[in-house]
């Protein structure tokens, strides 16, 4: 198969980029794979180009480059095809609209894969007849604002498939939207086998990792760890991850560590890349988020042989951890429950060792080879159905396009009205969040 990924920016750092690189690299072992990056601002991808994968870009933002597009007049004109509800809308433009359209119209591939809602909308609207159209959802449907969900509801029927990273999110797509005829499949993210041997359950350290933001609820973990230290002062906690731009969360966590007298036991280590050598310095991993679209860190820790104590938050953790077998799930937001689950593993060396080994074995299902195989099987199935066998008939497409253009007109009116309203509301106050509300 010839598979073409459409990515916002293959040259930056982020979960979607990392996941797409891993998938593309693995698929490239058997298929012809390209990654088309809408933007390019660096000569080399920060995360390292995936071997065997062809890299292309549509808009060049490297100032030293002869193909620099930043001065193009259309680069300053707002995007009309890329939906406003996508948080990246401001980075898109008439130039991206046109370049993406030209790319999709001339696409030489069997399968085209979008990696964020805005790009999936492009694929739905502009891909030439022929290639299988697949939209990947790396977050969740309910993390999107109303405006984007509406857009998804109206545009995605022109796709062949939507893949989510959890079954829970696949259910949302099936039940909350009318995407009849569109295949909706949950395929989890993959995590490669670590390059270091697994942890051996002897180190008296608990490890957590992820950006220091409020959704990760590290405050809950620190509260829980105060209880752990009271019972087992020989155990300590390392939290890896950089602070957010404001640094507020990091300061708040420092203050909490001080307030609880945990300065000898809890350490904010800063960012670490790669993380595997840091995971294996611990014997237990902790995730106390109130929300995890997937739960990449859980899988990473399990692949390093650590049992994970995680809150049973939406959406991913309960699809990764089997409670009491290869880790622990505790009620969302319950510091005591986190502490008790940690202590149960701390107090029982054999339980900790056994659970870690179970985690190591269970996490093999997230190996890139297996995950890529699931994607490839889905692509092949859709391809085999052929254009006529696929749900989208020519007539249905045409109908959708007509409906779509009518809706475009209605939306335009509605958004203009909403914008006016918002501008008035925001007169004194800066609007917070991005497109969460219309």
């Amino acid at each position: 198969m010839r598979i073409s990924f459409l990515l916002h920016n293959a040259y930056g750092i982020g979960g979607t980029i990392r996941t797409t690189f891993t998938l593309a690299r693995t698929l490239a072992e058997r298929h012809e794979v390209e990654i088309v990056s809408v933007f390019r601002h660096r000569d080399e991808p920060t995360l390292g180009a995936p071997p065997g994968v062809t890299m292309r870009h549509l808009v060049d933002l490297r100032k030293h480059s002869s193909g620099y597009d930043g001065d193009h007049p259309d680069y300053r004109r707002p995007a009309k095809v890329f939906p406003r509800g996508d948080g990246r809308w401001k980075q898109y433009s008439k130039l991206t609209d046109d370049r993406i359209a030209a790319h999709l119209r001339g696409l030489e591939a069997d399968v085209v894969v979008g990696t964020r809602p805005g790009l999936n909308v492009h694929i739905a609207r502009q891909t030439r007849r022929g290639p299988v159209r697949v939209a990947q959802e790396h977050l969740t449907l309910d993390s999107h604002g109303y405006r984007l969900r509406r857009e998804i509801g109206h545009r995605y029927p022109l796709l062949d498939a939507v893949t989510t990273v959890t079954e829970a999110d696949a259910r949302s797509y099936r039940t909350r939207l009318k995407l009849s005829g569109v295949t909706i499949a949950a395929v989890p993210n993959s995590v490669p086998a670590p390059s270091v041997p697994p942890a051996d359950a002897t180190a008296k350290w608990v490890v957590a990792a992820g950006r220091l933001t409020s959704v990760k609820r590290y405050d809950l973990l620190i509260e829980a760890f105060a209880k752990v230290v009271a019972a087992r002062p020989d155990w300590r906690l390392r939290v890896y991850g950089s602070g957010d731009a404001t640094g507020n969360e990091k300061s708040a966590l420092r203050a909490l560590i001080e307030e609880r007298g945990l300065h000898n036991h809890v350490f904010l280590m800063g960012p670490a890349n790669p993380l595997e050598p840091e995971w294996v310095k611990g014997s237990i991993a902790a995730v106390t988020s109130r929300l995890e679209s997937f739960g990449m860190t859980i899988v990473e820790a399990m692949r390093c042989g650590l049992p994970v104590v995680s809150t049973d938050c939406p959406h991913g953790p309960r699809e990764i951890i089997e409670d009491g077998v290869d880790g622990r799930l505790v009620p969302n937001g319950d510091a005591d429950a986190v502490a008790d689950a940690l202590l149960a593993l701390i107090q029982d060396d054999e339980l900790r060792r056994r659970t870690g080994q179970a985690a190591l074995a269970a996490a093999e299902r997230f190996d890139p080879a297996r995950i890529a195989e699931r994607h490839a099987a889905l692509f092949a199935e859709l391809l085999e159905r052929g254009e006529h066998g696929r749900s989208r008939s020519r007539a249905r497409d045409a109908l959708h396009r007509v409906r779509g253009s009518l809706l475009d007109g209605l939306y335009a009116l509605r958004y203009r009205a909403a914008d006016q309203l918002r501008k008035r509301k925001a007169a004194g106050k800066r609007a917070k969040g991005k497109g969460k509300r219309v």
Partner: protein
């Protein structure tokens, strides 16, 4: 092919530390061969017999090998060559740095074929909560770490005796430091010293079985009144007639703990005091007005 090749072609060197303090470096055999070929074109790098030299990984002490720097007497003091093994089944050549190879305290940069190498995986789990072997040569700690530009370096400490800082406890107007002392017994007249410029403040240190403990009174550190920042370096004098030993924390995998080891600050009349570590992991107390 319009594919992009991985950046630069800088060899990536992985490290594995063991509990005895040795470090094993592994290098892709292809990079060793490439470095060899490059070195072969430079007559200065072939030995007197004219045959190609055995491949080595070089450690150069930072600040000693700068081009144009004056010769430092004994050149070997600034460069250590570690022979690289033939490639193993994993396609990687190995070089070992045992504790028996002495390295002066400081930063040592890692070179292959005259070029710096990228820091790869550093499996340093064995360094956590390390208890150094009891020896007559003092305590050596070596932590492979990335330099600011991502190149591999080794941060080296060598102390004899060595005072390892441990937990800190805080009272209303002071701080109690606990730690372990290696290479000297704690005897009568043992004191801790806090030094800032000419200012020296002493307090009794106690301890047994290789541990020490003392309490700093911040009011003393803040007298006379603080007009500008005072950074007190902490030293331990194990006995009345013994040389003082710098108190540091080096027996783990953290080569720079300024960002991760944060301690509560105390405010008193006319001062604010907080313990901290230097970029060399030496323990200090910063007193400001």
């Amino acid at each position: 092919m319009s594919g992009i090749e991985p950046a630069g072609g800088t060899p990536r060197v992985d490290c594995l530390a063991d509990a005895a303090g040795a470090i094993v470096f592994t290098v892709p055999a292809t990079d060793v061969a490439a470095a060899d070929a490059a070195a072969g074109t430079d007559p200065a790098d072939t030995d007197r017999a004219g045959s190609a030299p055995a491949p080595v990984l070089e450690l150069r002490r930072r600040g000693r090998s700068a081009p144009g720097a004056p010769a430092d007497g004994d050149e070997r003091d600034g460069t250590v060559r570690l022979p690289l093994s033939a490639a193993g089944a994993d396609g990687r050549a190995r070089a070992e740095l045992p504790l028996s190879v002495p390295l002066a305290e400081g930063h040592w940069d890692v070179y292959l074929g005259g070029r710096g190498v990228a820091a790869g995986f550093r499996d340093l789990r064995a360094l956590l909560d390390r208890v150094p072997p009891a020896g007559a040569d003092g305590v050596a700690a070596r932590v492979p770490c990335p330099a600011a530009d991502g190149r591999l370096a080794v941060r080296v400490w060598h102390r004899f005796p060595h005072a390892e800082a441990g937990d800190l406890a805080f009272g209303p107007a002071g701080c109690t430091v606990e730690g372990a002392l290696y290479g000297a017994p704690l005897g009568p007249g043992a004191v801790a010293e806090a030094r800032a410029g000419d200012r020296v403040y002493r307090t009794a240190a106690e301890g047994r079985d290789g541990t020490f403990r003392f309490t700093l009174d911040y009011r003393e550190l803040a007298a006379p009144p603080v007009t500008e920042e005072r950074m007190y370096a902490l030293w331990l004098r194990p006995a009345a007639d013994a040389e003082p030993v710098r108190i540091s924390r080096v027996l783990d995998d953290v080569w720079d703990r300024r960002g991760s080891f944060a301690y509560p600050a105390r405010r008193g009349e006319g001062y604010r005091a907080v313990p901290c570590y230097t970029n060399g992991n030496d323990l200090c107390v910063r007193v400001t007005g």
